[in-house]
């Protein structure tokens, strides 16, 4: 059960933006990421810094959300690609 890795690396500005967003998540939260396991927010931040496969998924997720802002009403989001 391996996931395909996105080989693209992100800029330091993007990494810092995503880390800043992850730091707003309460410390009692863990994230279940498929069969990769469950991770604390600190672990996710480390993965974002390393830009490993899970870190890149976190970056993709945050960027997809940020790009969606302004696309209101949210009905429109039903057609938005996840990997944009």
């Amino acid at each position: 059960m391996e996931e395909k890795n996105n080989t693209q690396n992100h800029s330091e500005d993007i990494i810092n933006l995503v880390i800043a967003r992850l730091e707003t998540i309460p410390p009692n939260v863990e994230m279940s990421v498929g069969n990769e396991g469950s991770f604390s927010i600190d672990e996710l931040i480390e993965k974002v810094k390393k830009q490993d496969a899970i870190g890149k998924k976190m970056i993709e997720m945050q960027l997809a959300y940020l790009r969606s802002l302004g696309k209101l009403p949210t009905q429109d989001l039903q057609n938005a690609p996840a990997n944009n």
Binding site: M1, E2, E3, K4, R21, T24, I25, P26, N28, V29, E30, M31, S32, V33, G34, N35, E36, G37, S38, K57, M61, Q62, A64, Y65, S68, T74, Q75, L77, Q78, A80, P81, A82, N83
Partner: protein, 205 residues
């Protein structure tokens, strides 16, 4: 109507899915739907294929880990994959709650004659409140995501079509996104997760 559901249980993700899928079983039984519950060690390839071959199953709901070409059961052992069991889904409606399986496996299932497929083309992710771990169906952080996903199963159990079940689920995601977007909302960190799963959920028919 006959529903087959797999519910492996061996790590945190499957622990949550096990109990959330249990809600679908409860609802199905309330509605008089017969249920084949392949839980824990019963979520194995041989049993799944045997039931699919011999029973007049209408709806199949697979919970567990996955990748683009396969879905796993208990202990991460593959129970369905491209070229191995997809032909047994001919004429059935399938919901695969597992990472990535919508990308390739779902299309293969449709090619083999399934009536409909709903699944995910990216990793299925959800937050867990460590303080609620013992009560997964009451976890207020996991619930928004898992309730939207569960809506697929609830709608199928009610006899809704695959397309209608997908719409019902996406409508629920939209409601949740609107709720957590309001200025008074706490836990707005859920928004990227809701959007991720919503836009990763695909429907083929």
């Amino acid at each position: 109507m006959l529903l087959l559901i797999t519910r492996p249980l061996y790590d945190r993700a499957t622990y949550y899915l096990f109990y959330w899928a249990g809600l679908l079983i409860d609802e199905a039984r309330k509605k008089g739907v017969r249920v084949i519950d392949l839980d824990k060690d019963k979520a194995m390839r041989k049993k799944l294929h045997s039931y699919l071959a011999k029973q007049p199953i209408d709806i199949v709901i697979l919970n567990g880990h996955g990748n683009q070409e396969a879905v796993a059961g208990q202990d991460n052992k593959i129970i369905l994959s491209v070229g191995n069991g997809t032909n047994l889904l001919n004429g059935k409606v399938i919901f695969v709650r597992a990472c990535d399986a919508g990308a390739i496996l779902g299309k293969e299932i449709m090619k083999m004659g399934a009536r409909g497929f709903i699944g995910y083309i990216q990793p299925f992710m959800f937050p867990i409140d460590k303080d609620s771990f013992k009560k997964p169906t009451e976890d207020e952080l996991a619930s928004p995501v898992l309730a939207c996903s569960n809506q697929v199963g609830l709608s199928l159990i009610k006899g809704r079509s695959t397309a209608e079940a997908q719409k019902d689920s996406l409508d629920k995601y939209t409601e949740a996104i609107d709720k957590y977007s309001s200025s008074e909302a706490i836990n707005s960190f859920l928004l990227p997760i809701l959007l991720w799963n919503m836009t990763s959920q695909v429907c083929y028919q």
